[in-house]
Symmetry: C6
Subunit: 75 residues, 6 copies
């Protein structure tokens, strides 16, 4: 996972979603440091709607912070 | 999925809900890039209240950011 | 569903709860456009505490945005 | 349910929790208007930790809005 | 439960976590006033990860309000 | 758990994620003070996607407060 930016700045909302997803993945790594376990879980849960939506809720929570950080891309 | 706006600006709260839903769908695509899996899940879960409500919670979280971005459509 | 207001303005917190609930229902319609499926789910889940509370969490999330939009009815 | 205040103002954080709980109950009434169903659910779920905590999450979400409305009782 | 402070002020983030946990417990008491039921639930769920994490999510939601109340302890 | 900082200040978003995770762990300790139970749960749930994602949602909620505390690292 390339070192993510030293700031939450992004050019557009789409990049904001990308960064929110990367942050979420960083958080997963914090909770479960083992790459092999993480990789196994990605396969097991790839078609589990509830788990996919729980991951999206984390991304949406991160996106709120990133949107505020970028003054909602109003500038 | 048409490239969504380069900003979170919308004319009305209703358009804000539309954009929040599109953002949520972008987040689902980030988590599960496979269109065939996503399409299969939409059918399986179409009448699953819990999954529908989890999706709405993501939309509501996105709507908060979009409402703030539009100064709550007060202008 | 009557076209909800072009703004998030309400006269009181109670009306704010009403609008938050309407917004939540708009979000359900976005996720599940089929009226027959929605109507069926309302009956099936009418006495399911978890689903009722998940719906309330969406309303509470919307209420936060509406309260901020109305400057918390302090004016 | 006595008409709750026309504003979100409370004298202390404790009253803020009380109002947040009343707002949450208003939201339950919006989702399930039937008193008999609500009363039945309260009995069934009275010792269900998950449901109790889901209700508290709604109260905590409401409390955030009420705390902001009262400028966090800093005045 | 000693009467918690008439304000959300704390000296440090750690005290903020403590107050957020106390507020969460106040909310549990609002939802389930019976001490005997609460005590029974604490024992039953003491090693249930999901319930522990749901309680932590409430604390984290409260902590957001407390952090804002204390201007994020920046002064 | 080293006494975490007397403030929520961090140099970068990555450190913000680290602190958000530490705060989340502090909250787990508040809810379940017993180290032996916590250690047992970490092993049992190490490959449970839902529990991992619930923990990440707490971290994301904490990260929002930490990002605001650091003015979104814009300075």
């Amino acid at each position: 996972m390339k070192e993510f930016a030293a700031s939450l700045e992004t050019a557009t909302p789409r990049e904001g979603v990308d960064l929110a997803a990367r942050l979420a993945w960083e958080m997963v790594r914090k909770v479960q440091p083992s790459k092999s376990i993480r990789d196994r879980l990605v396969v097991i849960y790839e078609d589990d709607a509830e788990t996919i939506l729980m991951a999206c809720q984390i991304i949406a929570t991160n996106f709120q912070a990133i949107a505020a950080a970028n003054n909602y891309w109003r500038d």
